[in-house]
């Protein structure tokens, strides 16, 4: 256990170091307004990354989540604008929009999962395909431009992103709940155990009477639903969706999962690590924006270095365990 602890704590140590660095570079970093900002921005990728943790741990992958988010935001906005003349600008209309986003997420997740488990196509290929499909669909729906929520609805919906309990806004609360439930599911539920078993060796899982296909499908459904939930909280932020909504979210989510210590080949999932990974990524972004030390344009480069570093550390851990 001794050498393992250091590696397990690696992401946390990195996070603490980042917080200290941020505070040293700019005192405004620790101001409640900034913390709220960082956490709220993390929330979307965060919820998606929690779902991604399950998909990756079961030995899968989903590249389509960013496009899926854009598409879901698009259809939710269209749905709300369509029913607006009949229902008026009220919560009923917004609830319909939310329902469309969530159900759409489930259907999209089912599509990915069914292609992987029933048609037996590589997850990489399937989601590369659906990534293009969702992205293209939302661009088409927006006719190359932007889908905007009607003004009346926008003011009503706004507090879902900006409001909350004190400075803790709803997206932060939703992210926290998703993270806690996800961590619980991975560690203490039968589903989580099955997910790890399948990612570890799906043949052993099959020979242990586990319905491998169903569990895999469930991970994609879970992820789709979480993308839907992220969209529900994202739409009130800008009140619009376009072909460039959610670009590269999939890579940020996958990066957060990897930084958090989940093995890309599956078998070992760490939801809390994913949460730490998301926070690390968005904090780097935030610090670069606050401090003039390095150009914010180099954000991507720094994130890239951290991802590679995290994998190197994971590999060292494995060799240490083999001894």
């Amino acid at each position: 256990m001794k050498h393992l602890d250091l590696h397990t704590l690696g992401p946390i140590i990195a996070l603490i170091a980042l917080i200290i660095l941020g505070a040293l570079l700019n005192p405004a970093f620790l101001a409640p307004a900034n913390i709220t900002n960082v956490l709220a921005r993390s929330a979307f990728i965060g919820m998606i990354a929690v779902g991604m943790t399950f998909v990756i741990t079961a030995g899968g992958l989903d590249l389509s989540v960013g496009s899926m988010a854009a598409f879901l935001a698009g259809i939710a906005i269209i749905a709300m604008n369509t029913v607006l003349p009949y229902l008026g600008p009220n919560w009923g209309t917004i609830l319909i929009g939310m329902a469309v986003a969530l159900t759409g997420g489930l259907i999209a997740g089912y599509l990915n999962g069914a292609l992987v488990t029933k048609a037996r196509i590589e997850p990489f290929i399937v989601t590369l395909g659906t990534m293009g499909i969702f992205r293209s669909l939302v661009t088409w729906l927006a006719d190359g431009g932007t889908l905007s929520l009607e003004y009346g609805l926008r003011t009503l919906y706004r507090p879902v992103y900006y409001g909350g309990i004190g400075w803790i806004t709803w997206p932060i609360i939703a992210f926290a709940v998703v993270a806690l439930l996800g961590e619980w599911m991975m560690r203490h539920s039968r589903f989580g155990r099955h997910v790890e078993a399948i990612g570890s060796n799906d043949r052993v899982a099959r020979y242990s009477a586990i319905d491998v296909g169903r569990v895999r499908l469930m991970t994609y459904l879970l992820l789709g639903m979480l993308v839907g939930l992220a969209v529900v909280l994202y739409v009130p932020r800008l009140g619009s969706a376009s072909g460039s909504t959610g670009v590269l979210w999939e890579l940020e989510a996958i990066a957060a999962v990897i930084i958090g210590g989940t093995a890309l080949k599956g078998g070992r999932g760490r939801v809390w690590g994913t949460v730490v990974g998301v926070l690390i990524l968005s904090m780097i972004d935030n610090i670069l924006n606050l401090a003039d030390l390095v150009s914010p344009y180099l954000n991507g480069a720094i994130q890239g270095v951290i991802i590679v570093l995290a994998v190197v550390l994971q590999r060292e851990k494995r060799t240490a365990e083999e001894r």
Binding site: S200, N201, Y207, G267
Partner: protein, 498 residues
């Protein structure tokens, strides 16, 4: 003149000393068998000789000179070739490419014709018809083993170290293997042969070294040790009654199978398993034994009628089989049985997790189950929180047996109960199996080891080419009769196959 030797070698991994002052000398033109229970230190010795490990103290002598290889490839250049139990083949490359991997003939352009020609020559020498252009992935396990052997033969080998080479081979292939060993011996190659099969050690070895707990307990020459003597030296106590006494099966059928077929593998097999019976299934590798078992428990698509305790049941997948009281212990412990990188607890309960909760798994109950399993099946784990892959082969098998028994099945199908396991654990597992039958359960044992099937079973069915070739029981239960049926020579198919 000794080629390669260990002189007073000790080896420690951290605080644990695994070898204590071992002396071992390999002479040219001799087959030297190294035997011992799992964990006795055989693989450490092989790794020391093969240049994969350095001794903590003592010396490795090459041609009488102290020598230290820094790597396996360096040792290979000196003519020391190791055939590992786990294959060292690239699955997507062809047979020829694998044999010449790392020393391809030709300059910057590969000489495909030469590689192919030499591979064909090697395969002829091994009497096997493996296409040099076939990819390893497409080959059966025994064929892969033959490729490993061909790869070793293709090198200028002075010392050949073989780890359980016959474990996955069929009868005929084992014959070819022995032939090649004789031939290499005649050419003056020094051979170290590790095996759990004492009959083949008695047959092959000119010299035997017995290891126990990291110490050499016996050096012997050909003929000095009987198989019983070897087993006794390995475990350090008299092995009376290696196999438990046969039982008294009841007459009522526990499982009736009628006309079971697995497309392309098993054709029209009917059998009856009685309560309290241990039924052996023998046959050559590839005769459809495993496929029959997997078809029976729903791991493969199969047709046919199955009755359990007289009631017809439909088994479409393993969950149906569990519900009907059937369980299957796979032959492939490492790839289908256990999650090697997961803990003992996770492995034990994996197939029966629904008993331990849905949203909140009761880890305390799981721990209690592990305690019980450790006791009932005598699983010797240095630490509770270790991963299953770190257990010795014998203890892995006991853990797998415990996992299989956790749903409390009435009918248990055990495929290769003791593959790659030391003698002491084998005996324990035989006793467990007999005990299951004595408790009124019914057991089917599939095994490639003739003595095991005969020693353990009340009755033996023999399979050949996907069909039941016949049944042997009582006084007819002899190795000769089984081999005849398995190979399809003489003898009418008898018993239930008719």
């Amino acid at each position: 003149m000794t080629v390669l030797a260990l002189k007073n070698v000790s080896k420690s991994f951290g605080p644990i000393q695994v070898l204590h002052g071992v002396d071992l000398a390999l002479e040219p033109g001799e087959v030297h068998a190294l035997i011992g229970e799992n964990g006795a230190g055989k693989s450490t010795i092989m790794k020391l000789l093969g240049g994969y490990l350095d001794p903590t103290s003592g010396e490795v002598l090459l041609d009488g000179q102290p020598h230290r290889f820094t790597s396996g490839p360096q040792a290979e250049a000196a003519g020391i070739v190791v055939i590992h139990q786990e294959f060292n083949l690239a699955p997507d490359l062809t047979v020829a490419a694998n044999i010449f991997l790392g020393r391809e003939p030709g300059g910057w352009r590969l000489d495909h014709a030469a590689m192919r020609a030499q591979t064909i020559a090697l395969m002829e020498r091994l009497h096997c018809r493996i296409d040099p252009q076939a990819r390893i992935r497409e080959l059966s396990v025994p064929d892969r083993q033959m490729v490993e052997i061909a790869k070793a033969l293709s090198r200028k080998v002075r010392v050949l170290i073989m780890d359980e080479p016959s474990a996955v081979l069929t009868h005929r292939e084992v014959g070819t293997l022995y032939e090649q060993i004789d031939r290499l011996r005649a050419e003056g190659v020094a051979i170290l042969y590790c095996s759990h099969r004492l009959d083949e050690v008695a047959h092959l070895a000119d010299r035997i070294t017995v290891l126990r707990d990291g110490r050499v307990v016996r050096h012997a020459l050909r003929g000095e040790l009987t198989e019983d003597g070897m087993a006794t030296a390995m475990v350090g106590r008299e092995l009376q009654d290696f196999y438990p006494p046969k039982g008294n099966p009841g007459s009522e059928p526990a499982l009736e199978v009628r006309g079971l077929s697995v497309p392309g593998r098993v054709r029209d097999v009917s059998l009856t398993l009685r309560r309290g019976e241990v039924l052996g299934i023998a046959g050559l590798v590839g005769s459809g034994r495993t496929e029959l078992a997997e078809g029976l428990v729903g791991l493969r698509a199969a047709t046919g009628k199955i009755r359990v305790n007289g009631q017809p049941v439909r088994i479409r997948d393993l969950r149906d089989a569990f519900a009907a009281g059937l369980a299957y212990l796979t032959e492939d412990r490492k790839e289908a049985g256990l999650l090697l990188e997961k803990g003992l607890r996770q492995n034990l309960t994996l197939a029966t997790l629904e008993r331990f909760g849905t949203w909140r798994l009761d880890t305390r109950a799981e721990d209690a189950a592990l305690d019980r399993a450790t006791q009932d099946f005598d699983i010797r784990a240095p630490r509770r929180d270790m991963v299953a892959g770190k257990l010795s082969g014998g203890n892995q098998q006991k853990l797998l047996l415990a996992k299989t028994m956790l749903p409390d099945p009435r009918i248990i199908i055990i495929d290769e109960p003791t593959r790659g396991i030391d003698v002491g654990t084998k005996r324990q597992i035989y006793a467990f199996i007999r005990k299951l039958a004595d408790e009124g359960r019914s057991v089917i044992v599939i095994s490639s080891e003739m003595t095991e099937v005969i020693g353990l079973s009340d009755r033996v069915l023999v399979m050949r080419e996907g069909r039941l070739a016949g049944e042997v029981l009582g006084p007819t239960m002899t190795e000769e009769n089984i081999v005849r049926l398995a190979m399809g020579v003489g003898n009418e198919p008898g018993g239930e196959a008719a």
